[in-house]
Structure formats: C-alpha cells, structure tokens
C-alpha cells in the first residue's frame, strides 16, 4: 500500500492546492518505489519481462494523464481521487487470503512474450513456477492505470496489482514486487511532465520527499510488529474516510 493515495488528501487538508499536491506526490512516489525496489531486486522475485512489457503501456498513459491534469478543472480531480480510494479499499477488502492457483495454459500472446518465471518461496523453501496469461488484456489495461497514476500523481499500486493478480494470474509476491518496478518508471514519466510545466517547487517538494522517506523507514519497522490483520483494518478505515472526504470536497467545489 503506497503513500501517494494517503499523502495527497493529507496535503490538501493542510491547505495545499490539489494540483501542486499531485505534482509533488508524484516525485515522492519515485523515492519510495526506488527505495523498496532496492530490496526487492536482490530477492529476485520481480519479473523483469512482465514489468518491461507493461511499462510500455503505463508510461504512455502516465504522460497523457499528467498532461490532462495540468489543464483540468479541480473538482473532477477530487471526485476521481475519491473513486480511486474506494477501488483501493475494495481491492484491499477482496484480497483477504493470499491463496494463489496457477491459471490454465498461457495464451499465445503471453507465450510469445515469454511471460513466465520462478522464484524461491522463503517460507517453504520451495521453487514456485508460474506463467502469466491474458497479456493482451493486461497491456491495454495498464495504459488505463498509467493514465490514472499520471492524472492523480499516485503510484496506483493497488490498481496495478489487480491487473497482475486477477487479469494476468501472477502469484501475489510477483505482482507486488513487479508492480513496484512499474510504479517507479510511471512516476518518472508523470514527474517529468509536471517538472517541465513548472508545477513542482523543489523547496516545497524536498521536505515532503524527505518526510515520506523517513516515514517509510519508520513505517516498515513498526509494521513488522503488527499483525497483517491490524494493518489491513487500519488501512480499510483510513481509505474509507479519505474517500468520503475527497468526494465531498469535489462535490462542494474543493
């Protein structure tokens, strides 16, 4: 669960303009995803081919999304943000257990794209082999998620995981680490649009980025002490409150 989706409502509550909050958060997303990725790549669970194939779609979406935000009115941004919060809420709610079953045979497109792999499960010590399916759906859907990420300045990790998990049938660990890989590159594409437009004030952005990095550092240490259930319940409550808040502000006019 990323920081962007919580950070933007928090910054707007502190009085920051939503477009500025979106632009600054997009940069912070690069920092957190690169920090997390530095640990993931060494575990070798990330599937580089799945990541690269989907990145082609995600970055084009992000560039388009960020360009739209620059000239978009603010109210629809609030409402769209509220909706994405509820989708994240639903995705978190639905992902109760992490039972994964290998999908049936891969289709021709996924086979041509060589979307398969294996990793060693730390808990059981087994080698898990898997293949992806429905890449022909995953690609275009990832364009849509990239568009949302660029529009709202978020990593949209929960939406990416839904595509990797439910559409392409990858194991949860592979989905989580691979979506993080895609997030970093998507956020970079979005950030460059905001930077070129002068929407990022570095003196305002720097403390936010440093705060998010410090938060991520402390957060992971606190998280390991809590049970998964506690963390899940906490996020379910936070996402629901923020979702309602953003939609109400969108309807009222910011």
């Amino acid at each position: 669960m990323g920081g962007g989706i919580v950070l933007i409502p928090a910054l707007t509550l502190l009085g920051m303009d939503i477009k500025q909050a979106i632009a600054i958060t997009m940069v912070a997303v690069i920092a957190t995803s690169s920090g997390a990725a530095s640990a993931y790549v060494r575990d070798r669970i990330t599937n580089l081919k799945v990541g690269m194939f989907l990145e082609m779609f995600a970055i084009v979406g992000a560039l388009a999304g960020a360009t739209i935000t620059l000239s978009a009115p603010r109210r629809p941004l609030f409402i769209l943000f509220g909706l994405v919060l509820f989708i994240s809420w639903a995705s978190l709610f639905a992902r109760q257990g992490e039972h994964w079953r290998q999908a049936a045979q891969p289709d021709r497109v996924s086979r041509w794209l060589e979307l398969h792999g294996s990793y060693e499960d730390r808990a059981s010590g087994e080698i898990v082999r898997y293949h992806a399916t429905r890449a022909y759906l995953g690609g275009p859907l990832m364009f849509g998620v990239g568009l949302v990420a660029g529009l709202l300045g978020i990593g949209a990790g929960s939406l990416k995981v839904v595509i990797l998990d439910l559409v392409m049938g990858l194991p949860p660990k592979v989905s989580t680490t691979t979506s993080n890989l895609i997030i970093g590159v998507t956020a970079l594409a979005g950030t460059s649009v905001y930077l070129a437009a002068g929407a990022i004030d570095p003196i305002l952005a720097a403390p936010v980025i440093l705060g998010v990095l410090a938060g991520a550092f402390v957060g992971t240490r606190v998280l390991v002490r809590l049970t998964n259930q506690t963390v899940r319940r906490f996020f379910l409550v936070v996402l629901a409150i923020l979702g309602i808040e953003m939609i109400v502000r969108g309807l009222r006019g910011g």
């Binding site: 990725a37 990145e55 460059s192 930077l195 070129a196 003196i203 440093l210």
Partner: protein, 127 residues
C-alpha cells in the same frame, strides 16, 4: 556456461539494487543540505516558486555554472537532489536494456526496453 550467466544475473541484480539505494540516499542528502542551507541563509523555510518549468539539462547546467564561479545557491542544490532522484529509475531501465541486449541477447525485449528508455529520455528533456 550456465553458472556464469546465473552469476552475472545475480551480480547485475545486486548492482541495480545498490544503485537504486545509492540514488535515493544521495538525493535525500542533497535535498536536506539544500534545505538547511536555504533556511540558514534566508531564515525562511519557503522560497518563491519557480516562474517556469525546467528540465534535467538546465538543472545540471545551473548547478555546474554556480559551482564553477563559486556562487552556489541552495536552490540549485535542491534541484540537483531532485534530478538525482529522477535519474534513479531511469538508470534502472538503462541497466535492463543492457541486460536484455548483452546478457540475454533477447531482441524482442531489447526493443521493448529501448522503447521505454526512448520515451523516458524524451520526457526528461521535455520543455
């Protein structure tokens, strides 16, 4: 032969891992230094927002120009931290391109990664 490829992949993964970590830490160090310096010299935490956009080339040029003439200001230092952060995932894509081209010799994925790299390069120098 198989072991050497596997070792190269493993070596590559840890290299990429450390590059990512190094990038984030360097960027954080540059930004904190710039912020503290800005606060110490102006007594204010906030600055004036930039009037227009900027790109990577401009950020590096301003920083080097000020460094060479001995008139370095805190703002270009913070900008430089931002630029280092932007280059971190970019370097990762570049490393992947190299991996597909040299280690795996996979034409399909070299083309895919090349496309991502080209789009990112274009967007980083967007004006």
């Amino acid at each position: 032969m198989h072991t050497t490829t596997d070792q190269r992949v493993r070596g590559m993964a840890s290299l990429v891992g450390y590059t990512l970590l190094g990038g984030v830490l360097t960027s954080a160090a540059l930004m904190s230094t710039g912020l503290v310096w800005n606060w110490a010299s102006s007594g204010r935490v906030q600055g004036t927002p930039p009037a227009a956009g900027t790109d990577l080339a401009q950020i590096f040029a301003t920083f080097l120009r000020q460094l060479a003439s001995g008139t370095l200001q805190p703002r270009p230092l913070i900008y430089l931290g931002l630029a280092v952060l932007l280059l971190t995932p970019y370097l990762r894509v570049a490393a992947s391109a190299l991996y597909f081209a040299v280690v795996e010799r996979n034409l399909k994925y070299t083309v895919f990664t090349g496309f991502v790299l080209a789009v990112l390069t274009g967007s980083l120098f967007l004006r």
